[in-house]
Structures are given as structure tokens and as C-alpha cells.
Symmetry: D2
Subunit: 313 residues, 4 copies
Amino acid sequence: MNLSESQMKEIADERDQQSLTRRNTVSELEDLMFSPIPVLDHGFIRVIDYMGSDSSVVQAARVSYGKGTRRVSDDRNLIKYLLRHSHTTPFEMAEIKLHVKLPLFVARQWIRHRTANVNEYSARYSILDNEFYLPDAAHLAAQSDVNRQGRGETLNEDETNEVLELLRRDANHAYSSYLSLLNQDELGNKLDLKKTGIARELARMNISLNFYTQWYWKVDMHNFMHFLRLRADSHAQYEIRAYADVMLSIFKAWAPWSYEAFLEYRLNSVNLSQTSVEVVRRLIAGEPVSFETSRLSRREWDELALTFNLKKD
Amino acid sequence: MNLSESQMKEIADERDQQSLTRRNTVSELEDLMFSPIPVLDHGFIRVIDYMGSDSSVVQAARVSYGKGTRRVSDDRNLIKYLLRHSHTTPFEMAEIKLHVKLPLFVARQWIRHRTANVNEYSARYSILDNEFYLPDAAHLAAQSDVNRQGRGETLNEDETNEVLELLRRDANHAYSSYLSLLNQDELGNKLDLKKTGIARELARMNISLNFYTQWYWKVDMHNFMHFLRLRADSHAQYEIRAYADVMLSIFKAWAPWSYEAFLEYRLNSVNLSQTSVEVVRRLIAGEPVSFETSRLSRREWDELALTFNLKKD
Amino acid sequence: MNLSESQMKEIADERDQQSLTRRNTVSELEDLMFSPIPVLDHGFIRVIDYMGSDSSVVQAARVSYGKGTRRVSDDRNLIKYLLRHSHTTPFEMAEIKLHVKLPLFVARQWIRHRTANVNEYSARYSILDNEFYLPDAAHLAAQSDVNRQGRGETLNEDETNEVLELLRRDANHAYSSYLSLLNQDELGNKLDLKKTGIARELARMNISLNFYTQWYWKVDMHNFMHFLRLRADSHAQYEIRAYADVMLSIFKAWAPWSYEAFLEYRLNSVNLSQTSVEVVRRLIAGEPVSFETSRLSRREWDELALTFNLKKD
Amino acid sequence: MNLSESQMKEIADERDQQSLTRRNTVSELEDLMFSPIPVLDHGFIRVIDYMGSDSSVVQAARVSYGKGTRRVSDDRNLIKYLLRHSHTTPFEMAEIKLHVKLPLFVARQWIRHRTANVNEYSARYSILDNEFYLPDAAHLAAQSDVNRQGRGETLNEDETNEVLELLRRDANHAYSSYLSLLNQDELGNKLDLKKTGIARELARMNISLNFYTQWYWKVDMHNFMHFLRLRADSHAQYEIRAYADVMLSIFKAWAPWSYEAFLEYRLNSVNLSQTSVEVVRRLIAGEPVSFETSRLSRREWDELALTFNLKKD
């Protein structure tokens, strides 16, 4: 993540401006505001704005006049109770807005979360920067044999180098062609005075999916959690998970009790199917259960065995 | 609108608590925060929280690092430009949260606006207050002859008194039966020690639609404007329009440039059908156009005549 | 549920009209079409239209040209796999449209499901019928002591009769006042020639929440399941559960494999919190765990004990 | 658009399968079903499924038992009335499902329409085809001078040829690298037995935005019209407009009265700002109005002049 001096100055200026508000304020989140948190090689997440916190969840659940007079322990338990029983509307009462810089192929997954507000940098209006994603060697992996949408073994050093070289060369080439198509250099000067170049909205089609874009993304806490449950999950593609991991740390600063309840009842919880409940019931009763007598599919049995440390059969 | 002393104290306490924030702050809206603005006879709207303002719209439209360095006039014109061209996503970047007390029949219209977050006072958990809506004499009107969903002439004094007396008596009776069904008085004491009463979730079915409920309602500026365009319109039922009118004044304090653009391009704009455009073109060219030669329906012609001060034919 | 002869004739006519289509057709659901299925004392659900079925889920998941050439068992397992892994978008590819007649207090719960399309009978345009809900004696219950939003013991016969009598009398009284306010009888004739009556949009405010309304409600299969998971649950109020139960039977006729997967992975599944997973792991390993050593709240422990037949301590 | 023989056979088979249904059927739309309608050089739209039509809009607006007994002219006028007064919920009662093949940069614009259901071909699961978009010479244009997001003059023949050659070469190169990264040829055979290749979810990042993807897209008629109003507009990028134009013809086959009302009150209507209404009023009254006395911005004045054939000043 490279910020220019003028960008760093702008961020410092934003952080310096403080004003008085009657609104609920979260000092841990204020500390994070505006500063970019690096993700991947050139990406970042910045907290731009927020509204509410744990207290908004409690307030909405109580629909009371004031902030409530109950003991702190009650509020914390109320939040747990709400999440445990899928009373999710009070969590919609808090919002957060992020400025995110991310590769296009990650943006294409991210945008599928429809209950959010987005304003993306437009390559119809403006020229894209020459910034693209190159994976770490540690994340360059072969197609998984067992998971049709995942990665398997990492590559050996030689193949890693070849792959990275190819990705770098192709991206640089695509960008150079992009400028040719625009008939401009990076400073916006015409390359060839006799040519016109094509419109930005057309030239961008030559850009590949590892290039970075950026957007403002605003979401309520309920949908923020929904995003995290799917994207901080081990089945999510590594690159979007890297963003979700940073968002988890932001969540903790923003609303620590909701965060705690989210880990307990969503992210680290396990959904047991009706048949699995029956299997667990028998196991607890001391009855021996094998894959064959479980009525589960092979894959479900294996997952159950993993979750509860069953002996593999 | 009657607030108890303890409620007024709570509100004063809320208003007294101020803290420093790095977030965008709108002093005109801060002035309104928490204080109930009366609507109808017992209703109110209170501003509970907000996020962003005109500057968030501009920031999202520019997707820039900072708050923008352009001249003020540019931001104001950018907002106009966005609304004029239906670039509505930047307006989703600001949010407002209101605490609203409103009659059930108004709540039933309001809730049809789906892109918003709501937490309503629950009559499954808590006992309803004996507060119901009685219209002003000025708003007690007969069914309209020309508009199947509107009001016509107001009532004479005798009939007005009769109607109000009937509404008051029935509401008081319904509430008294509600308490009987619960087997409780208003303080929560059992009415008859030998009876059990029925569950709150059942007893509430005897309550009529003029009783007040309350909720927290949170919405982004785009959907706030959409609500106002439909509900501050002269075709909206008077009772919900009374809320929309208060919300217009809140809008003005919150985001004056968006408010101004909203009046110009939405609330007070006119959508001309393809055929009407042709009629207006001919009228401007000095060609005489009558209903018969307009190819408009009678109703559309009348509306056009009204909009442009045409001579009635 | 009382249908007039002309209504029954209209329904028979609708059922008689058949035409050829290239669309996916589900004969079990066609059999149900248009016929009202009774719910509560005057309510019903009618299947009005649908689009797609299990095959649409499979088709969307495969994004293939054709209907797929794989074996039947594959499709069934694919649907299970999708639901188990929360790949819910393919379930959005099927839709169903219902005509529902339901009490107002049920409608107020129902409408909170925002991702659906609704057109409700309008009491601004039309006059309401004198139809209201009276619970069965079996469902007239006292407030629950343990659950702040539920029912406890049913009432004895005397109190039951009193309650029903009060509800019936009040509803009839409210309706009679409604007609007085409109200055109309049920046939639409003026009651008093010297009075004007008030507008329908005003008069309806005297109607109580047990009166019936009706609407067309359209939803995709994903949100249909979400509705059922919350409303066919034992914590839902009995009256809305009665509708959910009928919808479960419609679901089975519409998309039997999705229905089966829904029961297995949603309706009858159990979400184990992170702490509960640890408790179950210890229990399976044969370790004695009590409430005190479980780190669960009392309520969570009791639920776990119930789910897995643990001995109460 | 190149379909293989087996694809054409599948489509013919789909079209051949007909069954009886009680549902509303639209023969003009049935005629279109499954057959791909070409868009751009390799794209298409296929109608896969639908639910309802004009009659569903009318039915929902009337919330009646049957299909309505009124005269045909009433239904047509009711639809006009609904759209003219922004009563849009009845239009949500009809749905259509399309199979669309489109370039990635078009897909990125399209997906911003959030109120729709989408299942996209996944390049995590499957290997992309070597199909990319090359503009017609007629659509290869320079950046517009007056419109920061549009096109201006088309290119001369030499530059056109250069641009197309560059785009073709780069796309072929990107695809060839994509296969190298996967270590596969187009038939799925390993290219180099000593290499592993990288996972599909990684390799796809080298693909450029002119490559084609495909998806199933389902939407209700209200949101279908909203899409068309924005994307069939002259300000929309040509490539997405090409899809919108085909969708307009599908709309006409599907629901001719709604289509007609949409043209009249949405697509070809003009929204006059409050200030413009005043200007038009003066013009109709015969008063001379110039830009200087109009209180409009330059751009708004020019648009008004264009709409109503005013003499340029």
C-alpha cells in the first residue's frame, strides 16, 4: 500500500478535525478512523464513518426513551439473547462506512452482498492506476483435488517464480495497452498527436481482474455480520478472507459485545442437521455410532467426526 | 403529546451528553437531537442519530481520499446534478434514525417502505398505553366524490361532534376491554384475583387502529427522499403527511443542499408524459391545443391545464 | 371461511382454464391452485401463481444451457449441499404467489418480512367486511410466566366463555360504529340522509386488530424458507404459525427436495454455540459435564439438555 | 454468438417440451422461450421462465378473487393510471428470468441493480471459454469532450484497425496465459506434466474485462422497468444499452400494456424541475424567456430548448 505524501497529509487533516456531538461515540473506533489498514499487497480498509454501537442494538431492542437504566451485564446478555434467537433487526440500527481498495476479482465477489450501499471509483470518469495484485508465494496454490472451488498444495519455488513473473508481465502489458488505447501517458499527456484514442469506458475493457479498484461501502451491523460469517469462513477465497479478517478487528473495536456474541453464536457455532442431532444424542448416551449406522452422507459424517473429535472409522 | 417528568428528564440528560468525534457533524441537526417534535394529537418525531450529510453525498460521488478541495459552489451543483440525473447511490451514504410515535393505521402505511430498518414497541412484551388519535375538526371530512381514496368536504359542527364522541367512546371502551382481557389495571395490578386473564399477544387484538404505537426507524437519505416524495404529496392521507411535513423540516436542517435539490427535482417537479411533451411543444410554438386535439385523457388534460395555467375548455 | 356462491364459481372457472406452456410445471402444485385452504376461523391461503421448482434451483446452481443431464440422485444431493453450505442464491430462482386472508394483527407481524411483494386490500378504496378472528378455546391462554412474549396455561371454561363473549361483542360494536362513521349500511345505502359520514380512510381507524384483511403475497423460495424458519417455529405466535403450517404443506407440493432439505438443515436443525460445541465434545468423550462446569447460561444449558436428552441436574 | 450442435439440440428439446398449466400464459412470450437472441458479438439473452403478465398487475391492483370482469379498456387504463401515479407495487407481481451472456465490464454495471436474483457462471468451479468482446468499428469512439463519461467522434479506419488488433491480440494473450497458469489446454489436458498449475480461483485474475461471462438473472416487472429506464437511456454505455434494447422487445411480448405505459410515462417522459415548470408556463403564456431570464443553469436551459424546440439563443 503506497500513499502519496499529499494523501497522507489529507488523512492526517481528517483525523485532526474533531467536533462535539450528542451522538453515541465509540472511542476505540474513533482511534481507527481514516487511517488505512493494509490488506494484500496494495489494498486497504479505512473506517470513514459510523453510527451507533452495542448501545444502539440494546436501545432498539428496548424501544425505550433513554439509554436504559439496567445494569451493564443485562445489556451484554440481551445482545447475546438477541443473536441466539435470530432477533436480528436491532443489529440493523448501527451502521459503518468503509473506504476499501481491492482487486477487481475480489470486488466481484463482494458486490454480491446486495444489502449494502456502494460507490465505486468509476473508470468511465477517471483513469485507472497501474496497481495490480500479485499473490504471496504462500498463497499461490494448485487447484484442490477435494474441493472444486478451492486451493490445494502450494507451488514449488520454480513454478511460483514463473507464475508470478507471468502475472506481473501480463498485468504491466495490459496496462501499457490501456494507455495506448487511451492515447495517453500516466500524466495524461497525449502519446501520439495524430491519434484520438478511445473513450475511457471502452479502454478499461483491456484491464485484467487483478487490478485494484476502490469504493465506499456502507452496511448495517446485521449485514456486516452476515458478510463476515460467509467471508471470514475457511471456505471463502483467501483474498476476500484477508479483508474479512481486518473487518473482524474493526468490528471488535466498534461493538465489542456484538462481536463477542457473533463469535459465539455465528462464526464459531456449528449448525447440526436433524439427522446429526440424532447421531450426537446417541453418542452422548454412550451408543456406538459409525458412518454406516449414522444415516449421514460421507462428507457430513467426516465433518461431524472432525467437529467432535470422533475416532475416524 | 404528553411526556412525564421522568421522560423529560431523560431527554434533557441525553441532550446534555456531548463527546468529541472525528465524524462529520451537523450543528443544525445536533440542535434538534432527542427533543420530540409534536405531530397530530399525541404523536412525535425525535431525531435519535444520524450519519453524514451533504458532504457524504459529495464524498461518495467523488470517491476521493479527502473531503474534497473544490469550491463550495461545486459541491452544491454536484448534488443538483446527481439528483437531476437520477444518480441516487451517493444519497444512500447518509443515514438518519428517528423515534416516531404514530397511530397504528399510519404505521401500517409507513411500514410499506421496505428499504428501512424498524424496531417497534412490542405489545407481546409490554402493555399498550391508553393513547389514541382523534382528528381535528378541520380534518374530519366526508368521502371524496372524485377521488376514491380521499376526502372531500369537511363535516358540519353537529356531525363533527357526534363523530368525535363516537370515536372517543369506542376507543376508551376498547382499551377498557383490553385491560379486562389482561385482567389488569393500568398499574399492572390484577383486577380479579380468581381470573388469569389472557396473554398480551392475544389481548392486543381488541385494540383499534387509532391507538398509538412507537418505533425506531432508520433510513438512508435516498430512501428518506423517496418516502417524502410519496408521503409529503397532496395525494397522501393527511395523517401520514403530517409526519412527512415534520420530516421535511428535519431534512432541511440535516442536509440543506440535498433538501433544496429535492424540492427542485423531485417534490415540486412535474413528470410530463411523452404525449404531454408533444402538447407543450405545440403550445409553446403558439399552436392552439384543446383537450380534443391533445390525445390526452380527460384527467391528464385537466392536470396539464392546472400545471401550466391553460385556459379551461 | 365462508365463500359466496359467486366466489366459488370464480374459483372453479379459474381452475378450469388450462393452457399449454413451455415453462417448468409442477403437477402437485397445479392441483392446489386457486382453491382456498382454510386457516383459523375465517382465513385462507390460495396458491395463485408460481415460477420454477426444485429444477430451477438445480439449473441456477449449474448455470447450464439445459435442464441438466445428470442422474436424479445428483440433483437431490445438490440441493442438500446448497442448503447445508448456505449457498442460498439458487433458491431465489423460484417464486410463489399466494392470496392470503388473515387478521390484521397477524398481517402486522407478517409484513416485517421485507423481501417479498405485497398488494393489500385497501380500506381507503373499499369498505371492510364484518369478519373478525375469535380464537378457539384451545388457544385462549394466559400470559406465560417464563416467556415474556408467549402463552401459558389455557383458561377454564367460564373465563373462556367470558373472554370470547367480550371479544365478539366488542368486534361487532366496532364494526357497527364503523358503518355509522361511514353513514352506510352493509349494502352501501346511506343510513341517515341528513349526514355525510366520514371518508373511508378515516372510518377504518375504529376497526380493531382482529378484523381480517387480505393480500397477494409473492416471495422467492429462499425468503419463503426464511419466513417458515421463523414462523413455523414453536416461539412464533400461534396465529401466524397456523399460516406457516399450511405453507409447509404447499412447500412440499411445490418443491419436495428443497422441502426435505429445509427440514433437515433449517427447521429441525440445531445451531450449537461455540461453547456448546465444546460441551458436546466433552460429553461424547464420556466426560461428566454439569451446568456448573459447562460455562453456559442456565437457559442455554437447559436447552442443550432438552436437545440431547441429558439428565437434568 | 456461436452455439455448438449439442447446445442447439438442447434448446430445441427445451422448446419441444410443453405441458398443461392453470397459470396465466402469454403466447407471444412462449414463442421466444429458450431461443437465444444475439447481443453484441458473442452475447445473447434467452427467456428462461416467467410468471404473470399485464393481468397480474391488474389482479394485484384489484386484489380480487378472480381475473376481473371489467372491460378490456379498463384494464389498460388501470395500468396507465398505476404507472402515472407511481403505484408501482402491482408491477412487482410479475417476474421474468433471463439467461444472459455478457462481457465482464457490462456485468459489473448490470450487477449494481440490487433488487434482482443472480446466479453467475463461476470461474472458481469451471474454466472460462476463450470468448471476448470486440466492438464494431461503428462503436469505437474517442472520449467525449462534453461528457466526462461518454463517447465522442468515431475513429478513422487506420486507428480503428490498430485498436481492434491490439484488443484482439491482448485478449488472446491473456487467455493463453490463463491456460498456462492452469497448466491446461482447452480440452483440460495438462500442458506440462511436471507442473501443477494454480487454482482456477487464482488463474482467473489474469482475464481481462472484455471476456464473456453468463448468468441467470431474475427480476420483477417493476425493477425490470427501472433497469430499462436507466440502461435503455441515451446516457447509458452503448454495450449495456444493446442488452436493454433486446429487453425492450421482450417486454413488449411479455406485457404489451405495461410496455406501452412504460414508454409513455417513463422512458419517453420528461421530468421538469420546479424552475422549468415556471419557464414553460411563461413560454406558453407567450412571454419571451431567454437563458438569462430563466433562472436555469446553462445545461438545463439547453436541455429544455432541445425538448421543446426552443430557438437557441
